[in-house]
Amino acid sequence: MSTVSSPVRGAAVRTTATPPPAPRRRGPGRGWRVTPWLFLAAPLGLLVLFTYVPVANMVWYSFTSWNGMAPVKEPVGLENYQRIFTDPDMFSVFLVSLYYLAGAFLQLGLALYFATILSFRTRARNFFKGIIFFPYLINGVAIGLVFLFFLRPGGTLDALLALVGVAEPPQWLGNPDLANVSLASTSVWRYMGLNFVLFLGAIQSIPHELYEAADLDGATSWQKFRYIIAPGIKQVIGLTTILAISGSLAVFEIPWIMTGGANGTTTFVIQTVQQAFEFKKFGLASAMAVVLLLIVLLITWIQRRIFPDEKVDLT
């Protein structure tokens, strides 16, 4: 405490008020035990109020046929869940998530590649770090609009392709076979920066002596990656993989802004939003949200089994 470290300030404090706190601090009085809870009260209160209460409400709504407005919420038992698991239209939208899942693994690979390269001494590496991370800083709405212009017929991409001689490019968003690929690519462009920074941070926390030792032993770059970097950032790789999988199941922003879910690009979350706000089926939408939550929890649990939370030891 500052009162101890600085006698001058300590004197000043003492003149202004309060008896010295030392005796109270020493005893195991009640005030001492309550204090941490007082500090925790605010964050815990907020957590309960804004996370657990809404989630509990959502679970409750999922067993009703509430329309979002009516004062009465008619309980319907498992009807909403029954519909989700029996109506093929409900679950088929998860197929769209496969595009994003494929994109997510491409994104992880690229991010890892760039993070590794840029963690070594590379020319203008800070510049490239900036360039790779930059898209993540841009607002998702702006990205959606920019890529709409980029991908439209006669847009920037088509103009670039024309320069290299592609005369009749496909409709990137209009062609139902390509639309999801285009959207997933946009998503990769946007989120690769985040994965990149996570990997880069983890790689840089690996002690430098290990590289020096490896250099002395004549290790190649690949060997350094294989035996130092990869095991060193295993935890981060596991974490980002989970984030990528749950992220690709819950894709919303980019397809919502760019196509609104039209032309076969509806994702599970877009469908949830449409059920809630377009068709006033808050009960069904809540059930869909609960199902998504359970799927994500399941995946997280599987990940914990595959990558247990063990301490990494490189030596």
């Binding site: 329309n67 979002g68 407005m69 009516a70 004062p71 709409l148 991908l151 439209r152 017929p153 847009g155 409709q171 968003l173 209009g174 062609n175 139902p176 639309a179 196509t259 609104g260 879910g261 039209a262 032309n263 076969g264 939003v273 449409q274 059920q275 809630a276 706000f277 377009e278 068709f279 006033k280 089926k281």
Partner: protein, 437 residues
């Protein structure tokens, strides 16, 4: 102009907020709008952020000259539906405001001062019954819209078309002629923005029957049959797209850009409410063409040799039930409808029964279009149609199923016109059975 259409999400949030506030509402429904002389300072809330500092300032000057004891202040809200609903949970939501779409008829009295009986108001104003409950009217329309198709006259003339099409088939032939003899895109769907597709629903009056939606639509098992409104209108949209008469890639359309495209003649036709005419004329002038190039034609369908077009009120001005200056607020509402000239300048039909006809609808006068005011659903039935819509998950007022329709028509999704419409009819009939009459 984004203020024209409503974001469904915002409207629902708004509705939810209102539902909450209705529980805690402790407002006194007593008191009259007519007590005393108009005086005091009133706050008028508007959605027209674009002209609040220009045109509305002029209104203020003219109004205050007529009522020297009244001072008018404006507040313009960008996301009107969303913001006003939050405000309406308190007593502080201005003196004059527009009735949000999320307020249900039975809630009107909680928030707004009754202006008089529907009968009495109807002598002076159009479409009062749209925002009425228990025989009391609560608002006066700021302007009245009709429905039809905006088109670029130059392009249509260049394609050698002189007469207005009177059937969907003629309309398709005309679009084909535009495609064959000009460079213009014959029809622009505005698929990507979505809400312009919802305009296809808004002209049920074209069937020439004010009772149409009380006898058809939600009261029919086959709204997409060839002789019912949705079969006719959605069928026409399907054929336009299937015949390749719409834009090449609908998924990348852009509303703001579409105005310029129509104004400059790169697009020939779009189906939109009459509110769009002035915007298109402006776009035409901005693109270096003339406002006279923009024409407005009725939906290509005639009953007994006459075109019909639905008229419906825009937002309605109403008085906050908690206002302390109700007389002044009422004076503003009447002045706005009768003397401001807002409807006329906007190219809309006057909210007054005997108001001036707008120049923008001269084409309709020339074509002898008969206006149809739809009869509201009978008491207790107001929510029936939307219940069927929600149960069937066919968003008549939205764009989800019409985007699917366009996808099927352009071959980007499985199915054809018959199978698609048969499925719609099937889902609709099932939903009607589930909801019950």
């Amino acid at each position: 102009m984004a203020t024209r259409h409503l974001i469904p999400g915002a409207a629902v949030t708004a509705a939810a907020a209102l539902a909450l506030s209705a529980c805690g509402g402790g407002t006194d429904p007593g008191g009259s709008a007519d007590d005393g002389e108009p005086s005091g300072e009133i706050t008028v809330i508007t959605q027209r952020t674009d002209i609040v500092d220009t045109v509305f300032m002029d209104y203020k000057e003219r109004f205050e000259a007529e009522y020297p004891d009244v001072t008018v202040e404006f507040e313009a809200l960008t996301d009107y539906e969303g913001e006003i609903a939050v405000r309406m949970n308190t007593a502080d939501y201005g003196d004059v405001l527009l009735i949000p779409n999320s307020v249900t008829p039975d809630q009107l009295g909680t928030y707004f001062e009754p202006l008089g009986t529907v009968e009495e108001l109807s002598e002076k104003y159009r479409l009062v019954e749209e925002k009425a409950y228990d025989g009391q009217g609560y608002g006066v329309s700021i302007t009245v819209n009709t429905q039809g198709l905006v088109y670029n006259k130059k392009v249509w003339e260049a394609a050698g078309i002189t007469d207005l099409p009177t059937t969907p088939d003629e309309f398709l032939d005309d679009l084909q002629a535009v495609a064959d003899s000009t460079d213009a895109v014959p029809y622009y769907t505005n698929y990507a923005d979505g809400w312009p597709l919802s305009q296809w629903d808004g002209n049920r009056g074209a069937m020439g029957d004010p009772e149409y939606q009380n006898t058809h639509v939600a009261h029919s098992d086959t709204p997409w049959a060839a002789d019912e409104w949705h079969g006719i209108s959605d069928g026409l949209l399907f054929d336009i797209v299937a015949n390749g008469l719409s834009e090449e890639d609908p998924t990348t359309t852009n509303w703001e850009e579409s105005k310029t495209l129509l104004g400059s003649g790169e697009v020939a036709t779009m189906l939109l409410g009459s509110w769009a005419i002035t915007q298109m004329q402006q776009a035409a002038e901005d693109a270096g063409a003339s406002a006279d190039d923009i024409g407005y034609m009725p939906f290509p369908y005639q009953v007994d040799g006459t075109f019909h077009a639905q008229v419906a009120g825009d937002y309605k001005n109403a008085i906050n039930v908690n206002s302390e200056h109700k007389a002044a607020a009422r004076a503003w509402i009447e002045w706005f409808a009768e003397e401001s000239g807002y409807a006329y300048d906007e190219g809309g039909i006057s909210p007054l029964v005997d108001g001036p006809a707008p120049e923008t609808l001269g084409d309709f006068d020339a074509a002898g279009v008969e206006y149809v005011e739809m009869t509201p659903a009978p008491a207790g039935q107001e929510a029936y149609e939307s219940e069927v819509v929600n149960t069937a998950e066919i968003d008549l007022y939205g764009n989800i199923y019409r985007q699917e329709l366009v996808d099927v028509a352009r071959g980007a999704a499985d199915g054809d016109k018959e199978s698609f419409f048969a499925e719609l009819n099937q889902r609709w009939a099932d939903a009607r059975a589930a909801v019950g009459e």
